[in-house]
């Protein structure tokens, strides 16, 4: 039984954690919240120096060629500090999409740039406030040209390219061209910038075979669900300990509020959800690494548990803080916002629960 990360992986985790604790305290997240930066540049550069974007990229494409497990530990630490960097977009979604569906030429072109932090990629699927379905996606690709509108797109304003869902296919489109208009939009989480992308006869190319978009997206989301789960586990743990620390030092009626069962049991519930999420995330990581048959089921379980854990911890962290936790000055808000963005960005829990049961039915039928 070896259901844990290796010592090397733990060392990498500590290294990243140390870097982020030093360079990405929550005041950096606040700077992005209140300012106009696309993301925290120096944090991103540091992560690039540590090799994070290249962790999952094979050595032949300029990456470190490490396993998904190494990327999972990075995700957890980045999630823990709610780092305002294009990790979820570039390192997870775009990189994994290329690995999954890219032609050799596409991989040769983009993966080394992604690994070196010289390109930022993103994924664009939604077209407004509705779950994209084959019947409602209006963005079209044909004759090498892409037309349509995608919103919200995380990091779209600074991304080098986007992987775009066009009807039933994925296409890769470089964003610095005149067929692409980018407009920043407001969202609930100003620490992760989003935009609207409008394509007007933009030059683009298929990523993967034509008509395979939904199938590829499902596989991409399974991988992303697991990496996101680690980010959510990290964030949930941070929010829980933020609440715990406050509960130890805040006094009401002559004693620490952490001595009241209402607070104690609330935080115990945080811990319970966190450990359920962690265990499910570990299994997802293992399946991702082994390409195990349980991968789709494990991904769904990891996603559901982690979303629940982060949502709950981030909400109850504010509740534990009381009034001060609801002020703009409080650091509680970062986890609340990020939890919601991560919860919705690759489909919410309702969708994943349905998916989980479908996969369970398939497994039982097999």
């Amino acid at each position: 039984m070896n259901f844990d990360f290796s010592d090397d992986q733990k060392l990498l985790k500590e290294q990243i954690a140390r870097f982020l604790a030093d360079k990405c305290p929550l005041k950096v997240v606040r700077r992005v919240l209140d300012g106009n930066e696309a993301f925290a540049d120096e944090v991103w550069k540091g992560l690039v120096d540590l090799g994070v974007p290249g962790i999952g990229i094979p050595e032949e494409y300029g990456g470190l060629g490490l396993s998904p497990l190494e990327l999972c530990v990075a995700a957890e630490e980045i999630g823990r500090v709610a780092a305002p960097v294009p990790f979820d977009t570039s390192v997870v979604l775009a990189t994994e999409a290329l690995k999954l569906a890219g032609s050799d030429a596409q991989k040769k072109k983009w993966l080394p740039l992604l690994a070196a932090g010289k390109a930022i990629g993103t994924l664009a699927t939604a077209e407004g406030a509705q779950t994209p379905r084959p019947s409602n996606v209006r963005t079209l690709f044909g004759g090498g040209r892409l037309n349509g509108r995608k919103v919200p797109v995380a990091d779209g304003e600074v991304a080098t390219f986007a992987v775009v869902l066009a009807k039933n296919s994925l296409v890769l489109v470089e964003l610095a061209q005149k067929g692409v208009a980018r407009k920043g939009i407001e969202t609930i989480d100003p620490t992760r910038k989003h935009c609207e992308l409008t394509f007007t006869d933009a030059t683009a190319e298929l990523l993967g075979a034509e008509g395979e978009g939904w199938r590829l997206l499902e596989r991409l989301y399974d991988a992303a669900a697991i990496y996101f789960a680690f980010a959510q586990v990290g964030g949930a743990e941070a929010a829980m300990y933020m609440a715990r620390d406050y509960a130890l030092q805040r006094f009401a009626f002559g004693r620490a509020i952490g001595s009241y069962q209402a607070i104690k049991h609330k935080l115990a519930d945080c811990y319970v959800k966190l450990e359920l999420a962690r265990s499910n995330a570990y299994y997802g990581a293992m399946m991702l690494t082994d390409g195990g048959a349980d991968l789709p089921l494990a991904a769904a379980a990891a996603r559901i548990a982690a979303t629940e854990a982060y949502d709950f911890a981030s909400k109850e962290n504010i509740q534990t803080h009381g009034g001060i936790g609801f002020t703009w000055e409080a650091d509680t808000q970062f986890h609340l916002r990020r939890a919601r963005v991560l919860a919705l960005s690759i489909g919410g829990p309702m969708a994943w629960k349905d998916r989980l049961v479908t996969r369970l039915e398939q497994k039982n039928a097999a």
């Binding site: 009626f253 002559g254 009381g322």
Partner: protein
Amino acid sequence: MDFNDTPDEAAFRKEVRAWLDANATRKSDDKQSFRARNDDPELLAKAKAWQARKAEAGYARMTWPKEFGGRGATPILQVIYQQEESNYLVPLGFFDIGLGMCIPTMMAYAAPEHLKRYVKPALHGDEVWCQLFSEPAAGSDVAGIRTKAERAKMPDGGDGWVINGQKVWTSGAHYCDYGIVITRTDPGVPKHQGLTMFFLSMKTPGVEVRPIKQISGGANFNEVFFTDVAIPDSQRLGKVGEGWKVALTTLMNERLAVGLPSGGLDIDELMELARDTDLDDGPAIKNQQVRGKIADWYVQQQGLKLTRYRTLTALSKGQTPGPESSIIKIVAAPKMQDMGAFAMEIMGQGGIMKEQVPHAAGFQAQWIGGAGFRIAGGTDEILRNIVAERVLGLPSDVRVDKDIPFNQMGKK
């Protein structure tokens, strides 16, 4: 069993409606609002004008004695007035704390000449009052306040006090003229015993108001700093050391004031969203998980509305309402937070965007505002304690600080 007025109530309602028709504009539908933003100075002026007109007509505080501008009426008449007024486009909300909490406290403790001076301007909207109770280290535990008042001579040689400290979460302090403030005058006795209440002008030198920006972006609350604020002893309310008793009068009035949260998005808008929005497998409204949630929240929404009707029934019969209204915020606050979050989930990834679909920003505001509503005016936890203790008769929490002098309370 019915929702009808008694003959007297019906007659009064007719009178009110006629007066409102003559003096204000009826809303075109019940979701319309005056879009009150407390920081709009023009709005305050309008609100003051409306309050004055209302007071002149005798509708502002009908339950008050006639000598103070009221009618000595039963609470149900006041409720009927408010029900009717809510159908008109008028600016409200600036005077609730002053008239609902501060002035009643003044009536109980202030000298006759002060009442003569302050009640009428407050009732007529000329002067706005705020309540200065909470502090950074005293939220749920109001009696743990640290703002000090020490005896001092006033420049005119009279007895007075000097106040130093900080209040927080003061609604409307930035536009208020007066406030009542609870202070610690004796740190050497157990915490409930060393408090004293005062009222003061918010223009008194040394009073500084700073708005608090909330996560939601709003800034309706303030920090209020007191630096060597000198006030005469005549502004004391109640005896020295009996401030807690005075505060209880104020807070009891707060409890009476708690109503249903009104306006805002609710089941109708959620149904509309679910009808108009696709999930993976078709319109959200067809999904049984969505239907289950809608049903749960509908049952809560109706339950609260109907519970309120039970309270009004008691008022209408001239009885003391039961404790049923204590459930309102316990239910309404998490419902607000959860429903907002769920509506965002229905919208998928796009649920994070502000102002892309009709109610997106509204549901997001509920989600984020719900986190604050679960805290403001009594946290979920404090309210459950209150139900357990006052309604069910369970023992209070163990109080380790009861008999210890305030300045002996170690943190560890």
